[in-house]
């Protein structure tokens, strides 16, 4: 048993035992939140109180249920957290039922603040607490058995397979003991298992949600159905901030099956809703709408946005977010410099399940079913856009057909709340793919200027990186800030939103989405200057898988490659030398080089390497790329990941594979462009996705160590584009500084 793991974590600060009214044990747990994506999840609670957000219940009929506030988007959260719990509880993870806690549900704590699944942090942030919860329950069950068998202590008892077992061989099941265990308080001195005692952590490779997903039984948001439900679709102003100027809805209203047609405002967008008895009737009637849109005053096109970024980089000093040594002095003394400009586009999330929501509103209150990454923000959105107070709104979460950050925003909930509130009937809103592509909260476009200085000895001496980029936080805080204070009356919401904005860095962590992955450039150069130039083009932006690392990973790992070539050094060795401070990164690079046979590419291929740390996880990748004329294909990606203790190795492998293919989609195709304030792409023919024939062979290696686990959902993304671009440079001598990658 590993006692040291307990230090600093008093059980009473996050675990509470109680009895179920039906008999049985309920253990309430407070898991740390997912602060990585913007708002602090903690720290606003006064000392001495805490809010549970996960619950372990053991019923007298031996059912073991784990109720969670996290959602499953495909990233394996469900399996990972259950594995941790089951390890200490001594049960097969497959026997633990998982339920997702909505907001306003029986498990909701009125004081609990903000539920968000994101930032790759679910397993990482919960590693110790869930295990301690499992271990505490196990010890309480043993105590209960000791009481039943009139033993002095529990030293002759052990647990296995849902039973407490006495050295004599007699057994009692957890269900038989649960009611007695509930009379004890949570023990303070339970030890956790040591890694050599693990049965499931690092070994459990079944995916607990797979069966319902291969039989079509998993219920996603779009699958929710209520009696008497109507279907809604919305035509939204094509340009951001556009409004309805004139509307002729007579033809649409006369169409078969149409129930209502009306203009609506929700989540900052104007549009016209068409509600019908079936989805297809609503969709057909939508084609009959005659709408003239009022274009907003600011309706930027892509060229103008990059021109604005250029102007701001020319004129602004920005905020210095890294200052090592004296870059200006290094620049003055430099024998030569290397400069480059990198440009990245807006990107849509393109979750395969388009945005959708079901809302039922009546005299009793409002119920919402939504594939959301944040039930608490969904409740704020529904409350802001309806007559209901938050106390009267219940949120049910569902399986999610891809999140990637899109479903942290709650616009689909807001829209459906408006419609259902008006009709007082159950309504399902479904976005078309075209609407989903054109009305996303995009990964921000950005422009980067880099400069490296080379001293008289020919050595790299300095690194400057200046980034023009908006603040994602400002587009997000409107719903996030009130979600932290659900007890505030609704008229306070705008105030909370602006307070939230002002509170950046004070009440909430600083918005690092523009510069994360740039200010922490790991290479040992004496003089480093990284600056964030806040430039706001007025296009809605949001969190996109790996957030700021998605662009800064590409820029820093491409530019370090440029520097290696300028220094006439092997790109891999150059990185290794400059990573002396980061032994875990070094060994990862060596490992990936060995597995990919660095220097000996696949036949007809060239290789490129990149390494990037995001969400505290290092990932190194080597891409083997084949070039034919202006075309190229990625044949193989070898990926080494160090995410600390691997809880479910196969889940980690899957997340690396998925992250690589997600990033390759962006590197090959991803490009949202704007004209007069409107997005020009619509469906998968002009916003392309990677398909089977382009999908590379992927080899994943997981570092074997026992550090606390770190995120895996996102860190597979950032190194891919630079690894491919660096391979293209090796193949052609062309340095591609724009995404998507296009050979000249």
């Amino acid at each position: 048993m590993d006692k040291s793991l307990n230090s600093g974590l008093s059980r009473r600060s996050f675990l509470k035992a109680s009895a179920l009214s039906s008999g049985g044990l309920l253990l309430s747990v407070a898991l740390p939140g997912c602060a990585a994506i913007g708002m602090k999840n903690q720290g606003m609670v006064s000392a001495g109180e805490w809010q549970s957000n996960a619950w372990l219940r053991i019923d007298t009929d031996n059912r073991i249920t784990f109720i969670l506030d996290r959602v499953e988007m495909g990233q394996g959260t469900y399996t990972g957290l259950v594995t941790l719990l089951a390890e200490e509880l001594e049960v097969d993870p497959a026997l633990v039922q998982v339920e997702f806690a909505g907001v306003g549900s029986a498990y909701d704590n009125p004081l609990y603040k903000l539920q968000i699944t994101g930032g790759s942090t679910s397993v990482a942030s919960s590693f110790k607490r869930i295990r301690l919860a499992g271990a505490s329950a196990r010890e309480m069950l043993k105590q209960a058995a000791a009481q039943v068998w009139a033993l002095e202590n529990t030293s002759t008892l052990h647990c296995d397979n849902g039973q407490v077992i006495h050295s004599s061989g007699k057994t009692l099941s957890y269900g038989e003991l649960a009611s007695i265990a509930a009379t004890f308080s949570v023990p303070e001195d339970t030890a956790l298992k040591s890694p050599d005692e693990y049965r499931y952590i690092g070994k459990y490779n079944k995916r607990l949600d797979a069966l319902q997903k291969v039989t079509g039984q998993a219920v996603y948001g779009i699958d929710v159905e209520l009696p008497g439900m109507l279907y809604a679709v919305i035509s939204r102003a094509p340009a951001f901030g556009g409004t309805v100027k004139t509307l002729d809805s007579s033809a649409a209203k006369a169409a078969s099956g149409v129930v209502d047609v009306f203009p609506l405002e929700a989540a900052g967008r104007s549009g016209v809703a068409v509600v019908g008895r079936s989805y297809w009737q609503a969709r057909k009637a939508q084609q009959l709408l005659q709408i003239e849109w009022q274009t907003p005053e600011v309706a930027p096109s892509s060229d103008a946005i990059f021109a604005q970024y250029t102007r701001d980089l020319d004129n602004e000093d920005g905020e210095q977010v890294r200052d090592d040594g004296d870059f200006d002095a290094a620049a003055e003394q430099a024998a030569s410099t290397l400069t480059a400009e990198y440009q990245l586009p807006y990107l849509a999330h393109a979750t395969l399940e388009p945005q959708n929501c079901v809302v039922k509103a009546d005299a009793d209150g409002m119920e919402v079913w939504a594939p959301t990454q944040s039930a608490s923000m969904a409740r704020v959105a529904a409350g802001k856009h309806s007559r209901y107070s938050l106390d009267d709104i219940v949120i049910h979460t569902t399986w999610i057909g891809g999140g990637f950050g899109r479903r942290i925003l709650q616009d689909y909930v807001a829209e459906c709340a408006v419609i259902a509130d008006r009709l007082q009937k159950p309504v399902k809103l479904i976005w078309s793919r075209e609407e989903d592509t054109a009305h996303d909260w995009y990964r921000p476009a950005s422009l980067h200027r880099l400069q490296a200085t080379i001293n008289a000895d020919g050595k790299a001496s300095g690194w400057q990186h200046r980034i023009a980029h908006p603040k994602v936080f400002e587009w997000f805080v409107g719903d996030a800030a009130p979600a932290q204070y659900p007890f505030m009356p609704k008229f306070m919401f705008p105030m909370l939103a602006s307070a939230g904005k002002l509170g950046e860095g004070i009440l909430a962590p600083k918005d690092s989405s523009g510069y994360e992955g740039a200010n922490d450039v790991p290479y040992a150069l004496d003089n480093i200057d990284v600056r964030f130039i806040h430039s706001e083009p007025g296009v809605p932006v949001g969190y996109w898988r790996s957030v700021g690392f998605s662009h800064n990973g590409f820029v820093t790992e491409s530019f370090i490659d440029e520097l290696a070539h300028q220094q006439k050094q092997d790109p891999l060795n150059f990185r290794l030398e400059l990573l002396a401070q980061h032994p875990r990164a070094q060994s990862l690079l060596r490992r990936v080089a060995q597995l990919a046979d660095w220097g000996r590419p696949l036949p007809g291929c060239h290789q490129g390497v990149a390494i990037h740390k995001s969400f505290n996880t290092w990932v190194a990748q080597i891409a083997d790329v084949q070039v034919e004329g202006k075309n190229f294909s990625v044949k193989r990606v070898v990926c080494a990941v160090d995410c600390g203790q691997a809880v479910n190795p196969d889940m980690i492998r899957a997340q690396m594979e998925g992250g690589i293919n997600f990033a390759l989609t962006a590197a090959l195709y991803g490009n949202i462009t704007l004209k007069d304030g409107a997005v020009q792409q619509s469906n998968f023919h002009d916003y392309n996705m990677l398909r089977m024939p382009e999908a590379p062979q992927i080899v994943v290696d997981i570092a074997d160590n026992q550090y606390d686990p770190t995120g895996v959902g996102e860190p597979g993304v950032p190194p891919l584009a630079p690894a491919v671009a660096n391979a293209l440079f090796a193949a052609t001598g062309q340095r591609l500084r724009r995404l998507p990658l296009q050979l000249a």
Partner: protein
């Protein structure tokens, strides 16, 4: 009135004939396993079988399939099937942990099932061809490829699919323990 057989059950439907089959199956018949992804025949999430052939049902008007036989993901194996009752394709998917979000997987499984019915031992190129109409945004392609190879192996292990389900497959988790998932992509 339009007649249609879905998963061996005959229906007589009072639905406008231009309604895409997808919405009829999902919202009138209540079979939600087939998904809506693009509505334009571009992603394959809505794939069902028409007389055994994979079709994009989001752009297939009901009137065009009147009187025909349709199979959906729900028709592959019995409701609440045990692992042993699943088809080899579903079993292979399960065994290799193919699904992530899972949203595309009904369509992927329908496409793969049709491929294996016509080509019991597909090459990688055959797989590229047959599966290129099905998008997986979560990027599960390497596992889909290996699962198809695996299902092909299971089916050839016995003339009847059940013969391949000798129980051994699930006696333990047989996921690649090797860190190199190369074997995954070549089955």
């Amino acid at each position: 009135m339009i007649r249609l057989t879905v998963n061996d059950v005959e229906h007589t439907l009072d639905v406008e004939g231009d309604t895409p089959l997808l919405w009829v199956v999902r919202d009138v018949l209540g079979l939600k396993g087939s998904k809506f992804g693009c509505g334009a025949g571009l992603c394959g999430a809505c794939t069902m079988h028409l007389n055994g052939q994979p079709i994009r049902t989001c752009i297939m008007p009901l009137s065009a399939v009147a009187g025909q036989n349709i199979t959906t993901i729900e028709g592959l194996s019995p409701a609440n099937a045990s692992v042993q009752q699943l088809t080899p394709v579903q079993q292979a998917w399960l065994e290799l942990n193919v699904p992530q979000c899972g949203y595309c997987q009904s369509g992927q499984i329908m496409a793969a099932t049709a491929l294996l019915a016509s080509n019991p031992n597909p090459s990688d190129a055959d797989i590229d061809n047959a599966m290129s109409g099905n998008i997986c945004r979560c990027g599960t392609y390497p596992r889909i490829r290996s699962a198809i190879h695996k299902a092909a192996g299971m089916m050839s292990a016995g003339s009847h699919p059940q013969a391949a389900r000798n129980g051994e497959l699930f006696s333990e988790v047989t996921l690649p323990q090797a860190t190199n998932s190369e074997e995954l992509s070549h089955g």
